[in-house]
Symmetry: C2
Subunit: 233 residues, 2 copies
Protein backbone atom coordinates (compact mmCIF):
# COMPACT_ATOMS: atom_id res chain seq x y z
CA UNK A 1 0.00 0.00 0.00
CA UNK A 2 2.29 2.73 1.21
CA UNK A 3 5.36 0.78 0.23
CA UNK A 4 5.78 -0.36 -3.32
CA UNK A 5 5.11 -4.03 -3.81
CA UNK A 6 8.24 -4.46 -5.87
CA UNK A 7 10.77 -5.44 -3.26
CA UNK A 8 12.35 -8.37 -5.01
CA UNK A 9 15.11 -6.50 -6.78
CA UNK A 10 16.83 -3.72 -4.89
CA UNK A 11 20.34 -2.61 -4.10
CA UNK A 12 21.77 -5.27 -1.85
CA UNK A 13 24.21 -4.15 0.77
CA UNK A 14 24.55 -7.37 2.71
CA UNK A 15 23.67 -10.10 0.23
CA UNK A 16 23.10 -12.88 2.73
CA UNK A 17 20.74 -10.92 4.96
CA UNK A 18 18.89 -9.46 2.04
CA UNK A 19 18.32 -12.81 0.38
CA UNK A 20 17.19 -14.36 3.62
CA UNK A 21 14.52 -11.74 3.90
CA UNK A 22 13.53 -12.26 0.29
CA UNK A 23 13.30 -15.97 0.88
CA UNK A 24 10.97 -15.54 3.83
CA UNK A 25 8.77 -13.14 1.91
CA UNK A 26 8.63 -15.62 -0.94
CA UNK A 27 7.79 -18.44 1.45
CA UNK A 28 5.01 -16.48 3.10
CA UNK A 29 3.56 -15.37 -0.22
CA UNK A 30 3.62 -18.92 -1.52
CA UNK A 31 1.97 -20.38 1.58
CA UNK A 32 -0.62 -17.62 1.67
CA UNK A 33 -1.39 -18.09 -2.01
CA UNK A 34 -1.88 -21.83 -1.53
CA UNK A 35 -4.09 -21.46 1.52
CA UNK A 36 -6.12 -18.51 0.29
CA UNK A 37 -6.68 -20.36 -2.96
CA UNK A 38 -7.65 -23.58 -1.23
CA UNK A 39 -9.89 -22.28 1.54
CA UNK A 40 -10.62 -18.67 0.74
CA UNK A 41 -9.47 -15.57 2.55
CA UNK A 42 -11.70 -15.58 5.60
CA UNK A 43 -11.30 -19.28 6.31
CA UNK A 44 -7.51 -19.01 6.29
CA UNK A 45 -5.84 -17.90 9.52
CA UNK A 46 -2.46 -16.29 9.80
CA UNK A 47 -1.53 -19.08 12.19
CA UNK A 48 -2.14 -21.58 9.40
CA UNK A 49 0.06 -19.65 7.02
CA UNK A 50 2.82 -19.52 9.59
CA UNK A 51 2.48 -23.21 10.42
CA UNK A 52 2.72 -24.09 6.74
CA UNK A 53 6.30 -22.79 6.65
CA UNK A 54 7.14 -23.84 10.19
CA UNK A 55 7.35 -20.47 11.91
CA UNK A 56 5.31 -18.77 14.57
CA UNK A 57 2.35 -16.58 13.77
CA UNK A 58 3.85 -13.29 14.88
CA UNK A 59 6.62 -13.54 12.36
CA UNK A 60 4.20 -12.93 9.51
CA UNK A 61 3.69 -9.42 10.82
CA UNK A 62 7.39 -8.68 10.61
CA UNK A 63 7.05 -8.93 6.83
CA UNK A 64 3.48 -7.84 6.17
CA UNK A 65 1.58 -5.21 8.13
CA UNK A 66 -1.83 -6.91 7.97
CA UNK A 67 -3.38 -10.10 6.70
CA UNK A 68 -5.24 -8.10 4.11
CA UNK A 69 -2.03 -6.49 2.81
CA UNK A 70 -0.71 -10.00 2.40
CA UNK A 71 -3.74 -10.91 0.30
CA UNK A 72 -3.32 -7.87 -1.93
CA UNK A 73 0.36 -8.69 -2.36
CA UNK A 74 -0.44 -12.29 -3.25
CA UNK A 75 -2.92 -11.17 -5.85
CA UNK A 76 -0.59 -8.51 -7.20
CA UNK A 77 2.25 -10.98 -7.45
CA UNK A 78 0.11 -13.39 -9.39
CA UNK A 79 -1.39 -10.64 -11.52
CA UNK A 80 2.05 -9.53 -12.55
CA UNK A 81 2.97 -13.02 -13.67
CA UNK A 82 -0.18 -13.49 -15.68
CA UNK A 83 -0.64 -10.29 -17.55
CA UNK A 84 2.80 -9.17 -18.51
CA UNK A 85 2.98 -9.76 -22.24
CA UNK A 86 -0.48 -8.91 -23.45
CA UNK A 87 0.54 -5.76 -25.28
CA UNK A 88 3.17 -7.53 -27.32
CA UNK A 89 0.92 -10.41 -28.33
CA UNK A 90 -1.96 -8.14 -29.21
CA UNK A 91 0.06 -6.64 -32.08
CA UNK A 92 -0.07 -9.96 -33.91
CA UNK A 93 -3.78 -9.69 -34.64
CA UNK A 94 -4.75 -7.63 -37.69
CA UNK A 95 -8.30 -6.62 -36.77
CA UNK A 96 -9.86 -5.13 -33.67
CA UNK A 97 -12.35 -7.96 -33.58
CA UNK A 98 -9.60 -10.55 -33.49
CA UNK A 99 -7.80 -8.62 -30.77
CA UNK A 100 -11.03 -8.44 -28.80
CA UNK A 101 -11.54 -12.15 -29.22
CA UNK A 102 -8.00 -12.80 -28.06
CA UNK A 103 -8.43 -10.70 -24.92
CA UNK A 104 -11.64 -12.49 -24.06
CA UNK A 105 -10.08 -15.87 -24.74
CA UNK A 106 -7.01 -15.14 -22.63
CA UNK A 107 -9.13 -13.91 -19.77
CA UNK A 108 -11.21 -17.08 -19.90
CA UNK A 109 -8.06 -19.17 -19.95
CA UNK A 110 -6.88 -17.45 -16.79
CA UNK A 111 -10.17 -18.16 -15.08
CA UNK A 112 -9.96 -21.78 -16.15
CA UNK A 113 -6.36 -22.21 -14.99
CA UNK A 114 -6.53 -20.24 -11.75
CA UNK A 115 -10.12 -20.55 -10.61
CA UNK A 116 -9.52 -20.00 -6.92
CA UNK A 117 -7.27 -16.98 -7.26
CA UNK A 118 -9.67 -15.52 -9.79
CA UNK A 119 -12.46 -15.95 -7.29
CA UNK A 120 -10.50 -13.95 -4.74
CA UNK A 121 -9.73 -11.31 -7.33
CA UNK A 122 -13.35 -10.99 -8.42
CA UNK A 123 -14.40 -10.45 -4.87
CA UNK A 124 -11.82 -7.72 -4.43
CA UNK A 125 -12.69 -5.89 -7.62
CA UNK A 126 -16.35 -5.89 -6.75
CA UNK A 127 -16.16 -4.83 -3.14
CA UNK A 128 -15.67 -1.11 -2.84
CA UNK A 129 -15.93 -0.95 0.94
CA UNK A 130 -12.30 -1.70 1.61
CA UNK A 131 -8.87 -0.45 0.70
CA UNK A 132 -8.78 -1.99 -2.76
CA UNK A 133 -9.60 1.19 -4.63
CA UNK A 134 -6.42 3.16 -5.14
CA UNK A 135 -4.18 0.22 -4.30
CA UNK A 136 -1.42 -1.00 -6.63
CA UNK A 137 -3.61 -4.00 -7.36
CA UNK A 138 -6.39 -1.72 -8.49
CA UNK A 139 -3.94 0.11 -10.75
CA UNK A 140 -2.83 -3.20 -12.23
CA UNK A 141 -6.40 -4.20 -12.89
CA UNK A 142 -7.16 -0.89 -14.55
CA UNK A 143 -4.09 -1.17 -16.72
CA UNK A 144 -5.09 -4.68 -17.70
CA UNK A 145 -8.67 -3.88 -18.62
CA UNK A 146 -7.53 -0.73 -20.39
CA UNK A 147 -6.11 -2.97 -23.10
CA UNK A 148 -9.63 -3.95 -24.06
CA UNK A 149 -10.81 -0.35 -24.00
CA UNK A 150 -7.89 0.63 -26.24
CA UNK A 151 -8.71 -2.21 -28.58
CA UNK A 152 -12.31 -1.08 -28.90
CA UNK A 153 -11.26 2.52 -29.45
CA UNK A 154 -8.85 1.48 -32.15
CA UNK A 155 -11.62 -0.44 -33.83
CA UNK A 156 -13.82 2.63 -33.67
CA UNK A 157 -11.22 4.89 -35.20
CA UNK A 158 -10.57 2.36 -37.93
CA UNK A 159 -14.24 2.18 -38.83
CA UNK A 160 -14.53 -1.43 -37.73
CA UNK A 161 -16.80 -0.58 -34.78
CA UNK A 162 -19.57 1.93 -34.36
CA UNK A 163 -18.62 5.04 -32.47
CA UNK A 164 -21.82 5.92 -30.63
CA UNK A 165 -21.21 3.70 -27.63
CA UNK A 166 -18.66 4.22 -24.85
CA UNK A 167 -15.82 1.66 -25.04
CA UNK A 168 -15.93 1.41 -21.27
CA UNK A 169 -19.30 -0.26 -21.60
CA UNK A 170 -17.79 -3.07 -23.63
CA UNK A 171 -15.19 -3.57 -20.94
CA UNK A 172 -17.85 -3.79 -18.24
CA UNK A 173 -19.91 -6.30 -20.19
CA UNK A 174 -16.93 -8.46 -21.06
CA UNK A 175 -15.30 -8.69 -17.66
CA UNK A 176 -18.50 -8.59 -15.67
CA UNK A 177 -20.07 -11.14 -17.93
CA UNK A 178 -17.11 -13.46 -17.70
CA UNK A 179 -17.20 -13.22 -13.92
CA UNK A 180 -20.81 -14.30 -13.91
CA UNK A 181 -20.18 -17.13 -16.32
CA UNK A 182 -17.20 -18.20 -14.27
CA UNK A 183 -19.07 -18.24 -10.97
CA UNK A 184 -20.94 -21.35 -12.06
CA UNK A 185 -17.65 -22.93 -13.04
CA UNK A 186 -15.94 -21.89 -9.83
CA UNK A 187 -18.47 -23.79 -7.72
CA UNK A 188 -16.80 -26.95 -8.95
CA UNK A 189 -13.56 -25.94 -7.29
CA UNK A 190 -14.78 -24.17 -4.21
CA UNK A 191 -17.02 -26.98 -2.98
CA UNK A 192 -15.38 -30.06 -4.44
CA UNK A 193 -17.14 -32.63 -2.28
CA UNK A 194 -20.72 -31.53 -2.80
CA UNK A 195 -23.06 -32.51 -5.56
CA UNK A 196 -22.84 -28.96 -6.83
CA UNK A 197 -19.41 -29.82 -8.10
CA UNK A 198 -20.69 -32.72 -10.09
CA UNK A 199 -23.27 -30.88 -12.16
CA UNK A 200 -21.20 -27.73 -12.45
CA UNK A 201 -20.21 -27.35 -16.07
CA UNK A 202 -16.66 -27.31 -17.32
CA UNK A 203 -15.46 -24.09 -18.83
CA UNK A 204 -15.37 -24.41 -22.61
CA UNK A 205 -12.98 -21.53 -23.18
CA UNK A 206 -12.94 -21.62 -26.96
CA UNK A 207 -16.70 -21.83 -27.33
CA UNK A 208 -17.38 -19.12 -24.78
CA UNK A 209 -14.85 -16.76 -26.30
CA UNK A 210 -16.41 -17.24 -29.72
CA UNK A 211 -19.90 -16.69 -28.39
CA UNK A 212 -19.09 -13.58 -26.39
CA UNK A 213 -17.17 -12.01 -29.27
CA UNK A 214 -19.98 -12.91 -31.60
CA UNK A 215 -22.64 -11.44 -29.37
CA UNK A 216 -20.77 -8.22 -28.77
CA UNK A 217 -19.73 -7.63 -32.36
CA UNK A 218 -22.82 -8.81 -34.19
CA UNK A 219 -25.57 -8.42 -31.61
CA UNK A 220 -28.63 -10.46 -30.85
CA UNK A 221 -30.54 -9.38 -33.93
CA UNK A 222 -30.88 -12.09 -36.57
CA UNK A 223 -28.63 -11.76 -39.60
CA UNK A 224 -27.38 -14.07 -42.35
CA UNK A 225 -25.11 -16.84 -41.21
CA UNK A 226 -22.52 -15.91 -43.79
CA UNK A 227 -21.55 -12.81 -41.86
CA UNK A 228 -21.10 -14.82 -38.71
CA UNK A 229 -18.67 -17.29 -40.20
CA UNK A 230 -16.25 -15.08 -42.06
CA UNK A 231 -16.09 -12.18 -39.57
CA UNK A 232 -13.55 -10.26 -41.66
CA UNK A 233 -10.83 -12.84 -41.20
Amino acid sequence: MATPHRIAIARRRTPATRSRRELRVEQILQAARDLFGAQGYDATTTAQIAAQIGVVEGLIYKYFPTKRALLLQVLGYWYDDMFGDYTRELAYFPTARKRLHYLIWRHLCTVRDYPRLCGLMFREVLSADNDYRGSPLHAMNKRYTQLLVDTVETGMRGGEFRTDLPPRLVRSLVYGGIEHEASRYLARYIAPHQQAAADAPALDVGLLADQITNLLCDGLGPRPAAELTETRA
Copy 2:
Protein backbone atom coordinates in the same frame (compact mmCIF):
# COMPACT_ATOMS: atom_id res chain seq x y z
CA MET B 1 -32.80 -20.26 5.92
CA ALA B 2 -34.83 -23.25 6.99
CA THR B 3 -37.78 -21.10 7.95
CA PRO B 4 -39.49 -18.98 5.35
CA HIS B 5 -38.46 -15.35 5.47
CA ARG B 6 -42.04 -14.15 5.13
CA ILE B 7 -42.96 -13.76 8.76
CA ALA B 8 -44.53 -10.33 8.70
CA ILE B 9 -48.10 -11.42 8.09
CA ALA B 10 -49.19 -14.71 9.55
CA ARG B 11 -52.10 -16.18 11.43
CA ARG B 12 -51.81 -14.96 14.99
CA ARG B 13 -52.92 -17.37 17.66
CA THR B 14 -51.87 -15.51 20.78
CA PRO B 15 -51.73 -11.98 19.49
CA ALA B 16 -49.58 -10.47 22.21
CA THR B 17 -46.83 -13.07 22.24
CA ARG B 18 -46.78 -13.56 18.52
CA SER B 19 -46.68 -9.89 17.68
CA ARG B 20 -43.99 -9.18 20.25
CA ARG B 21 -41.70 -11.66 18.60
CA GLU B 22 -42.55 -10.35 15.17
CA LEU B 23 -41.85 -6.84 16.32
CA ARG B 24 -38.42 -7.76 17.60
CA VAL B 25 -37.55 -9.58 14.40
CA GLU B 26 -38.69 -6.58 12.42
CA GLN B 27 -36.66 -4.26 14.62
CA ILE B 28 -33.54 -6.35 14.27
CA LEU B 29 -33.92 -6.68 10.51
CA GLN B 30 -34.43 -2.95 10.15
CA ALA B 31 -31.43 -2.05 12.30
CA ALA B 32 -29.25 -4.61 10.55
CA ARG B 33 -30.33 -3.36 7.15
CA ASP B 34 -29.48 0.22 8.09
CA LEU B 35 -26.10 -0.61 9.56
CA PHE B 36 -25.07 -3.14 6.92
CA GLY B 37 -26.02 -0.63 4.28
CA ALA B 38 -24.20 2.24 5.93
CA GLN B 39 -20.98 0.52 6.98
CA GLY B 40 -20.88 -2.78 5.19
CA TYR B 41 -21.17 -6.26 6.63
CA ASP B 42 -17.76 -6.75 8.17
CA ALA B 43 -17.62 -3.31 9.75
CA THR B 44 -20.94 -3.80 11.50
CA THR B 45 -20.91 -5.64 14.83
CA THR B 46 -23.80 -7.47 16.36
CA ALA B 47 -23.34 -5.27 19.42
CA GLN B 48 -24.02 -2.22 17.25
CA ILE B 49 -27.18 -3.77 15.87
CA ALA B 50 -28.36 -4.58 19.39
CA ALA B 51 -27.50 -1.12 20.68
CA GLN B 52 -29.44 0.48 17.84
CA ILE B 53 -32.65 -0.97 19.21
CA GLY B 54 -31.64 -0.72 22.85
CA VAL B 55 -31.14 -4.37 23.72
CA VAL B 56 -28.14 -6.45 24.64
CA GLU B 57 -26.02 -8.27 22.09
CA GLY B 58 -26.96 -11.79 23.06
CA LEU B 59 -30.62 -11.22 22.31
CA ILE B 60 -29.88 -11.10 18.59
CA TYR B 61 -28.98 -14.76 18.74
CA LYS B 62 -32.36 -15.69 20.16
CA TYR B 63 -33.89 -14.63 16.84
CA PHE B 64 -31.12 -15.34 14.34
CA PRO B 65 -28.63 -18.18 14.56
CA THR B 66 -25.66 -16.30 13.13
CA LYS B 67 -24.75 -12.83 11.96
CA ARG B 68 -24.49 -14.16 8.44
CA ALA B 69 -27.99 -15.64 8.54
CA LEU B 70 -29.17 -12.20 9.56
CA LEU B 71 -27.50 -10.72 6.50
CA LEU B 72 -29.08 -13.26 4.17
CA GLN B 73 -32.47 -12.57 5.74
CA VAL B 74 -32.01 -8.83 5.35
CA LEU B 75 -31.15 -9.26 1.69
CA GLY B 76 -33.99 -11.69 1.10
CA TYR B 77 -36.46 -9.38 2.76
CA TRP B 78 -35.36 -6.49 0.56
CA TYR B 79 -35.20 -8.66 -2.54
CA ASP B 80 -38.79 -9.70 -2.05
CA ASP B 81 -39.93 -6.10 -1.83
CA MET B 82 -38.08 -5.07 -4.94
CA PHE B 83 -38.75 -7.76 -7.44
CA GLY B 84 -42.30 -8.82 -6.90
CA ASP B 85 -44.17 -7.42 -9.85
CA TYR B 86 -41.78 -7.86 -12.71
CA THR B 87 -43.70 -10.59 -14.43
CA ARG B 88 -46.90 -8.58 -14.54
CA GLU B 89 -45.23 -5.44 -15.87
CA LEU B 90 -43.27 -7.34 -18.49
CA ALA B 91 -46.46 -8.30 -20.29
CA TYR B 92 -47.06 -4.67 -21.21
CA PHE B 93 -44.16 -4.59 -23.68
CA PRO B 94 -44.87 -5.91 -27.15
CA THR B 95 -41.38 -6.88 -28.30
CA ALA B 96 -38.62 -8.92 -26.70
CA ARG B 97 -36.24 -6.05 -27.22
CA LYS B 98 -38.46 -3.68 -25.26
CA ARG B 99 -38.85 -6.23 -22.50
CA LEU B 100 -35.09 -6.66 -22.41
CA HIS B 101 -34.66 -2.92 -22.22
CA TYR B 102 -37.15 -2.72 -19.41
CA LEU B 103 -35.41 -5.42 -17.38
CA ILE B 104 -32.08 -3.68 -17.80
CA TRP B 105 -33.59 -0.33 -16.92
CA ARG B 106 -35.32 -1.64 -13.81
CA HIS B 107 -32.17 -3.34 -12.62
CA LEU B 108 -30.23 -0.11 -13.06
CA CYS B 109 -32.91 1.78 -11.16
CA THR B 110 -32.54 -0.62 -8.26
CA VAL B 111 -28.80 -0.11 -8.22
CA ARG B 112 -29.28 3.63 -8.27
CA ASP B 113 -31.87 3.62 -5.48
CA TYR B 114 -30.27 1.02 -3.19
CA PRO B 115 -26.56 1.30 -3.88
CA ARG B 116 -25.38 -0.05 -0.56
CA LEU B 117 -27.67 -3.05 -0.41
CA CYS B 118 -26.86 -3.83 -4.01
CA GLY B 119 -23.20 -3.76 -3.13
CA LEU B 120 -23.81 -6.35 -0.42
CA MET B 121 -25.86 -8.44 -2.81
CA PHE B 122 -23.23 -8.33 -5.54
CA ARG B 123 -20.64 -9.52 -3.12
CA GLU B 124 -22.83 -12.43 -2.09
CA VAL B 125 -23.68 -13.52 -5.61
CA LEU B 126 -20.04 -13.49 -6.62
CA SER B 127 -18.54 -15.30 -3.68
CA ALA B 128 -19.04 -19.01 -3.97
CA ASP B 129 -17.01 -19.97 -0.91
CA ASN B 130 -19.85 -19.56 1.55
CA ASP B 131 -23.37 -20.76 2.15
CA TYR B 132 -24.99 -18.53 -0.44
CA ARG B 133 -25.35 -21.19 -3.09
CA GLY B 134 -28.46 -23.18 -2.43
CA SER B 135 -29.89 -20.63 -0.02
CA PRO B 136 -33.34 -19.10 -0.46
CA LEU B 137 -31.61 -15.89 -1.48
CA HIS B 138 -29.84 -17.74 -4.25
CA ALA B 139 -33.14 -19.19 -5.39
CA MET B 140 -34.67 -15.71 -5.42
CA ASN B 141 -31.81 -14.39 -7.49
CA LYS B 142 -32.10 -17.23 -9.96
CA ARG B 143 -35.82 -16.68 -10.30
CA TYR B 144 -35.22 -12.99 -10.86
CA THR B 145 -32.57 -13.38 -13.54
CA GLN B 146 -34.56 -16.15 -15.17
CA LEU B 147 -36.99 -13.47 -16.33
CA LEU B 148 -34.32 -12.12 -18.63
CA VAL B 149 -33.45 -15.57 -19.91
CA ASP B 150 -37.11 -16.22 -20.63
CA THR B 151 -37.37 -12.91 -22.42
CA VAL B 152 -34.42 -13.73 -24.64
CA GLU B 153 -35.80 -17.20 -25.38
CA THR B 154 -39.15 -15.74 -26.32
CA GLY B 155 -37.38 -13.35 -28.66
CA MET B 156 -35.56 -16.27 -30.22
CA ARG B 157 -38.71 -18.30 -30.76
CA GLY B 158 -40.43 -15.27 -32.28
CA GLY B 159 -37.61 -14.70 -34.75
CA GLU B 160 -36.63 -11.41 -33.17
CA PHE B 161 -33.29 -12.73 -31.93
CA ARG B 162 -30.82 -15.11 -33.42
CA THR B 163 -30.90 -18.61 -32.03
CA ASP B 164 -27.26 -19.69 -32.19
CA LEU B 165 -26.26 -18.20 -28.84
CA PRO B 166 -27.20 -19.42 -25.36
CA PRO B 167 -29.65 -17.06 -23.61
CA ARG B 168 -27.74 -17.61 -20.40
CA LEU B 169 -24.85 -15.71 -21.94
CA VAL B 170 -26.99 -12.62 -22.35
CA ARG B 171 -27.96 -12.84 -18.71
CA SER B 172 -24.33 -13.06 -17.63
CA LEU B 173 -23.31 -10.09 -19.74
CA VAL B 174 -26.23 -7.95 -18.61
CA TYR B 175 -26.04 -8.54 -14.87
CA GLY B 176 -22.29 -8.88 -14.73
CA GLY B 177 -21.83 -5.82 -16.87
CA ILE B 178 -24.20 -3.77 -14.76
CA GLU B 179 -22.35 -4.81 -11.63
CA HIS B 180 -19.12 -3.56 -13.11
CA GLU B 181 -20.65 -0.32 -14.27
CA ALA B 182 -22.22 0.14 -10.88
CA SER B 183 -19.00 -0.40 -8.96
CA ARG B 184 -17.73 2.98 -10.14
CA TYR B 185 -20.99 4.52 -9.06
CA LEU B 186 -21.02 2.74 -5.72
CA ALA B 187 -17.70 4.30 -4.73
CA ARG B 188 -19.59 7.56 -4.33
CA TYR B 189 -21.69 6.06 -1.59
CA ILE B 190 -19.26 3.75 0.10
CA ALA B 191 -16.55 6.36 0.66
CA PRO B 192 -18.55 9.58 0.87
CA HIS B 193 -15.81 11.72 2.41
CA GLN B 194 -13.00 10.95 0.00
CA GLN B 195 -12.20 12.64 -3.26
CA ALA B 196 -13.18 9.43 -4.99
CA ALA B 197 -16.76 10.34 -4.26
CA ALA B 198 -16.44 13.68 -5.97
CA ASP B 199 -15.22 12.45 -9.34
CA ALA B 200 -17.35 9.31 -9.26
CA PRO B 201 -19.97 9.64 -11.93
CA ALA B 202 -23.67 9.68 -11.31
CA LEU B 203 -25.62 6.76 -12.70
CA ASP B 204 -27.48 7.86 -15.83
CA VAL B 205 -29.98 5.04 -15.79
CA GLY B 206 -31.82 5.92 -18.98
CA LEU B 207 -28.70 6.40 -21.04
CA LEU B 208 -27.03 3.26 -19.75
CA ALA B 209 -30.11 1.14 -20.34
CA ASP B 210 -30.33 2.41 -23.90
CA GLN B 211 -26.66 1.79 -24.54
CA ILE B 212 -26.60 -1.72 -23.11
CA THR B 213 -29.73 -2.74 -24.97
CA ASN B 214 -28.34 -1.21 -28.12
CA LEU B 215 -25.02 -2.97 -27.80
CA LEU B 216 -26.55 -6.35 -27.07
CA CYS B 217 -29.20 -6.22 -29.77
CA ASP B 218 -27.29 -4.51 -32.55
CA GLY B 219 -23.69 -5.28 -31.73
CA LEU B 220 -20.50 -3.30 -32.12
CA GLY B 221 -20.37 -3.60 -35.88
CA PRO B 222 -21.17 -0.38 -37.73
CA ARG B 223 -24.58 -0.15 -39.35
CA PRO B 224 -26.81 2.64 -40.64
CA ALA B 225 -28.11 4.99 -38.00
CA ALA B 226 -31.66 4.51 -39.17
CA GLU B 227 -31.79 1.03 -37.74
CA LEU B 228 -30.56 2.25 -34.39
CA THR B 229 -33.24 4.88 -33.96
CA GLU B 230 -36.38 3.01 -34.80
CA THR B 231 -35.53 -0.36 -33.23
CA ARG B 232 -38.86 -1.86 -34.19
CA ALA B 233 -40.87 0.42 -31.96
